[in-house]
Amino acid sequence: MRRLLKISKKGVAVLFAITCLYSCTSPEERIKKNEVAVSTKAHTVVIQQMKFAPAELIVNEGDTVTWINRDIVDHNVTEEANKEWSSSNLRQGKTWSMVVKKAATYFCTIHPVMKGKLIVKQ
């Protein structure tokens, strides 16, 4: 009985410690951390009305960017300077993803007036 009391006292102490740990990080801070964790991993660029939106995207190296074609005509996503990488032509509703290794400007070879930019945070 005395031992049980001891354990439960210990339990309360642990519980208290956990509660403290949790509440010691302010809610704002937790939200901030969470946001950063999500946004640095996956990004979406919507292709609509003959534009990449957003046309300029800031990412961390290693992030994944997904392009989705919401337009009525086909488009593609192609690195502009040396065609280092390219999606095949994307039909309406199709997506293409890539892990960003370095900054790049890209365009659509079907519609060379459509341009976009990937900026990598230093």
């Binding site: 009305q49 337009d71 009525i72 005509v73 086909d74 070879t109 079907i110 519609h111 007036v113």
Partner: protein, 182 residues
């Protein structure tokens, strides 16, 4: 004699009344297109540019011109496919009209002009026409077809086509500049 004068006066007055009351009705009927007529004009406008692109494929050896023509054939075909899918869904049959007939007649003249060009002068003639044609089609879609369409889906499709037409115009002007600098 006076009787004749009076009679003439009545005839003239009656004619004026007739003209005044009938003209607005006629003008309205003439300018307002129905949805089946708008669908027909839209399909013809897109088909014309596919036809111009076909001539470019036969006659041009310039890489930029050929790439542009390929985009025109591909995009305008996609627009026609969507228009056909929509009219099928709405159970509407596109109807020939003054505007679609004019677009066809003008395109026949353009095709004749393009086919008559020498290999040397074809590229510039084709691109110049593409710039003018896209400007004209954008104006027609924005000021006639969109405002006059009553079905919301038809209106929506036409509105979605405008950015593509504008990108085509920009692309054509880009190629046109290459010829100007040469």
């Amino acid at each position: 004699m006076k009787k004749i004068k009076d009679f003439m006066g009545i005839v003239v007055a009656f004619s004026i009344i007739t003209i005044v009351t009938i003209t607005p009705v006629y003008a309205q009927q003439k300018s307002k297109l129905t949805d089946p007529e708008i669908a027909s004009a839209a399909v013809v406008a897109n088909q014309n540019d596919i036809d111009f692109a076909k001539i470019a494929r036969q006659k041009s050896k310039n890489e930029e011109v050929l790439k542009f023509a390929e985009t025109m054939a591909k995009d305008h075909k996609a627009v026609i496919d969507q228009a056909v899918a929509l009219v099928t869904k709405l159970k509407v049959t596109p109807k020939d009209n003054t505007l679609s007939r004019k677009l066809t007649a003008d395109a026949a003249n353009t095709k004749k002009m393009l086919l008559s060009k020498s290999a040397k002068s074809f590229d510039k003639a084709y691109i110049d026409n593409e710039v003018g044609y896209h400007k004209a089609v954008i104006a027609t879609v924005e000021t006639v077809l969109i405002p006059q369409s009553t079905n919301e889906e038809l209106k929506g499709l036409l509105q979605n086509v405008v950015p593509a037409l504008k990108a085509h115009l920009e692309h054509a002007e880009m190629v046109q500049k290459m010829f100007a600098s040469k």
